[in-house]
Symmetry: C2
Subunit: 356 residues, 2 copies
């Protein structure tokens, strides 16, 4: 039976289908709907305050009795950039602010809470599963989390990262192919040029090099993709973009329409929104920032500095200046409920197997 | 039966496994060994003179009675660069020539034969299958080839290219994922940033948009990859890197060793060797040329200008200055004969199916 293996046993889920954590899009309603349908819902909590995280967890728990995951980013040690760097970055970004008619050269304001405060909520609430992105979390933190009987999932974009994650004690590894939408989960020392590895190459190589279950992500949109990931050696799939257009997803209408109208050539990798490589639908912001790469602050500072642009563009429904994270197969998106999507995926995998 | 479908019927082969055309590596011995084992061997003839192509075809025919393919590049209309451009390109390349102790600033010499002369050999010899790379060949040429009852295979890196190829009348499309080693098969007007699409995303999207059989390529190295490509909707696979380390392959020992010692992070895309994006194992030439991108001549002129460097580096066994094309899963390479590789691949696919 394709749907049962060590990974589904560890996560206590019926089907090896994980909804990827996505800031903003992964509402408690979406997370709970996926978990109720037998998959695993994940809350993208990296941008949320400790209170927001706690409230979301309470809400998820009111909607499902099944396991779910909460995702955070590995904290980075990038010092606050100098005043000169901030001024230069603002000078470039002001051209977009003018077009959006918002205040120029705002202060660089970090988030008013720390990673440790976010993590404490996860520990206190004893969420069933904790996942993280951006490389390698320290073995100490992993131990702290596992001591609470919380299952830990790390994200790797290369075999080297997967082996490092295994050493720190994570239970499961996400193998993130270059097809994936949203942020590259790379560790800080990984070079992007060598770490954009397509799933067909990445999944079997990671599977061959670790002894813990591997979850495939990147470009998986339907039963064909799930079956392919499983035959490549993965024990499950993590799907993000496929859930973005679900009814329960928290994205706005213009973004949804762009996904549904996209082609395989629609996305780009850019550092311009956050300071880290992220895949999204191409637009004017991404194109124009190409010639200003030297102005980009390191993550998460660029993200803090573009927050006003993102927020204004979203309010003004301006798809040319807002981030629209997307994988490379968004043309296969469906507008349907999360539970219907999961039913269809299961049906499709069974059909693929039968026809093989 | 997974090994029989419309594509194997069109190509008259026993197994849907195609050895990708690779200049230099795809010797007549390799091509014939693959075809004799029930796959399809392909001669990478784009850099060969009409006489060399004819002699290779005669040799292949003396070694196998089974079908085989010959591959050429779609000719490009890039005019010869100006004297200033050539001088500037040479100025940069001379730093490598000095290290190799060869003549500086050589003349830019084009190949002493034309595409039409190459194509004529294919028509005259009535090779069973003609494949081409670099986008869209004109419908006129396709018709000319098909009139000789030659099967035609085109290469697409995006859904748009696949649809254009179908319109020109090709019989089969190769869907080249971003994992693939060697040259990107992109059409001249395709933007590389949007056209590096991983197989998990590319294959199902192309399959959904064309009505002719699709062959998957990129990062496919074993039975897992073949099974994955087939469940994604492909009718066959084209494998290049997997055949590079076969005994019959024409690559030199240092290159072979680099492939066998590689990891998933070893490759880079570069225009520095030929003027077109090509994936190969990273080395000093690729790294140092990164800061001289403005000096690179359009394909095929950069290729003509670096010919002396490539040739000297190869003679001197200097892996830092020679091209070593490779896909993203070369760590899965095996040192065996081509017929043993095909037997193993078939065995592996059957095992994958049984365990699913």
């Amino acid at each position: 039976m394709w749907s049962k293996n060590k990974l589904t046993e560890i996560l206590k889920i019926a089907y090896p289908i994980i909804q990827g954590p996505m800031s903003g899009a992964s509402t408690p309603a979406l997370v709970a709907a996926v978990s109720n349908a037998g998959g695993l819902g994940s809350l993208g909590a990296a941008q949320m305050s400790p209170d927001q995280i706690r409230n979301s967890i309470v809400e998820i728990r009111s909607l499902t009795k099944n396991p779910f995951a909460v995702n955070l980013f590995v904290p980075e040690n990038n010092n606050k950039p100098s005043k000169e760097m901030i001024n230069h970055a603002n000078k470039i970004l002001n051209s977009f602010r003018k077009k959006l008619d918002i205040e120029l050269s705002p202060d660089l304001k970090p988030l008013p809470f720390t990673f440790n405060e976010q993590l404490n909520v996860i520990l206190e609430e004893k969420v069933p599963i904790f996942s993280f992105t951006f490389g390698i979390m320290s073995a100490e933190i992993i131990k702290q989390v596992k001591d609470k009987k919380i299952i830990v999932i790390g994200t790797a974009t290369t075999t080297r990262e997967a082996k490092l994650l295994e050493q720190t004690g994570v239970d499961i590894i996400v193998a993130q192919g270059s097809e994936a939408g949203g942020h590259r989960g790379s560790a800080a020392d990984t070079q992007i040029e060598g770490a954009l590895i397509g799933g067909m190459a990445l999944i079997p190589q990671i599977v061959d090099h670790v002894n813990i279950p591997v979850m495939a992500s990147g470009g998986i949109m339907d039963g064909r993709g799930i079956a392919a990931a499983l035959v490549l050696g993965a024990s499950a799939v993590q799907m993000g973009t496929a859930f973005l257009t679900c009814r329960e997803s928290g994205i706005h209408q213009q973004y949804r329409e762009k996904l549904l109208a996209s082609t395989d050539e629609s996305t780009r990798l850019t550092r311009s929104f956050t300071g880290r490589y992220v895949r999204g639908i191409n637009n004017q912001f991404i194109e124009e920032m190409k010639t200003h790469q030297e102005s980009i602050l390191p993550h998460p500072w660029q993200r803090f500095l573009t927050r006003d642009i993102v927020s204004a563009a979203t309010q003004q429904k301006n798809t040319e200046f807002m981030p629209m994270w997307s994988g490379q197969a968004a043309s296969l998106c469906r507008e349907i409920s999360a539970s219907d999507l999961i039913s269809k995926l299961i049906e499709e995998v069974n059909k693929v197997i039968k026809n093989f």
